[in-house]
Symmetry: C2
Subunit: 227 residues, 2 copies
């Protein structure tokens, strides 16, 4: 929100469900314990060789969490938006297990980083914070259920239509290469090319290099919902 990039974050605890409801004293303690970090667009926030030992709360921006196969193919698992916490990192911290998911900053990101001891104390002592953390976990589990359902049982044309609409938001253009879209859905570039060619023939989209124009959103929505 703050248009001025130099603005200090006065009270980030206002930003999160899990901290907003806490007593003033606790919030002040948190503000002292936490660090604010800014991460440039495109940076890897966490990954197989970059296991964080701290907790992550996303103040501003968006992180894309994806998984890469041995063969180099990629699939997007979910996105972490502002106001949410990044639980895959905590999952890993707590389980101390290997996983091959990674988080990429999709925009410039401002995050609150909390050392694990402070996190533990907070979870122990504060009910609202606990609820926040469990909610985040639940949301991710449910996201993953959706991904499994899509990948195992969904048609790619339907999934692509969905994803294009989601990526466009209110806009009517999506800036993405065919390869980008393939990585979104965990498929191959050629498949996307063919499906998009078909969409174009049907007047649903128009294409130019690295850019898809959604010419008929209603049509795409109809396709997306013909699940």
């Amino acid at each position: 929100m703050s248009a001025d990039g130099a603005t200090r974050i006065e009270d980030w605890t206002e930003r999160f469900q899990g901290t907003r409801a806490l007593p003033r004293a606790v919030r002040d303690r948190l503000i002292r314990a936490a660090r604010i970090v800014r991460i440039g667009k495109g940076t890897q926030v966490f990954g197989p060789d970059n296991v964080p030992d701290r907790l992550f709360f996303l103040y501003d921006g968006r992180i894309r969490v994806s998984q890469t196969s041995e063969g180099g193919r990629e699939i997007v698992l979910y996105r972490v938006e502002a106001g949410d916490s990044c639980v895959l990192t905590t999952a890993c911290m707590l389980a101390e297990e290997a996983y091959n998911a990674e988080g990429i900053a999709e925009t410039d990101v401002t995050a609150v980083v909390l050392p694990k001891p402070d996190f533990d104390r907070l979870v122990a002592e504060e009910e609202p914070f606990r609820k926040f953390v469990f909610d985040a976990y639940s949301r991710r589990l449910i996201d993953m259920l959706r991904v499994v359902d899509d990948v195992a049982f969904g048609r790619i044309d339907v999934r692509l239509a969905e994803r294009l609409l989601a990526l466009a938001g209110d806009m009517k253009e999506v800036a993405a290469t065919h390869q980008d879209l393939a990585s979104e859905l965990g498929t191959a570039r050629e498949v996307i090319s063919r499906v998009l060619a078909d969409f174009q023939k049907r007047g649903l989209v128009q294409q130019s290099r690295g850019r898809i124009t959604l010419a008929d959103k209603a049509g795409l929505r109809a396709l997306a919902e013909s699940a």
Copy 2:
């Protein structure tokens, strides 16, 4: 383990990582608060129209958690074994959202059921228990990562070989129909039939109605690991 079905469970808190480490007084309190339930093999433990409002700890037996698509196809997400807790139910309880996964008792099951208030208190007050719950969540998330990877990027012959070995354990037979195996992997019965026919031709397995004999486990393992 107790061959005598009438045997009372003396101290189930010994059975779980998360409760074993607790002070005696807390454990006694828990034993008073919890109920022991026995569930017959094949029963649905939870599901879309069967949302639990209690916490589940698996004392004995095994629960298979699977997801079913609109088209009626099914895929196994993971299994909950004795000593573990069933977090999808808690995920749902906490998020109070709809999901279309279900849990089926794969064997006769003995479980400890803890009312939510007691669960909350335990999470708040006891560090070892908290760790136990978070671990369970992490494990599931990681299981799901694996499922996504398999479904999106894996070959079915490899996945089938893996699954056959896992289902057989130390035995060299698997009692499952082709349809059962298709539901394990989220594919169609015909696909399993064809792959098994191929396995048979290669001398890896032998088949009879509802029963697969793993004739060459080493060969299957080699195939499974040729990821």
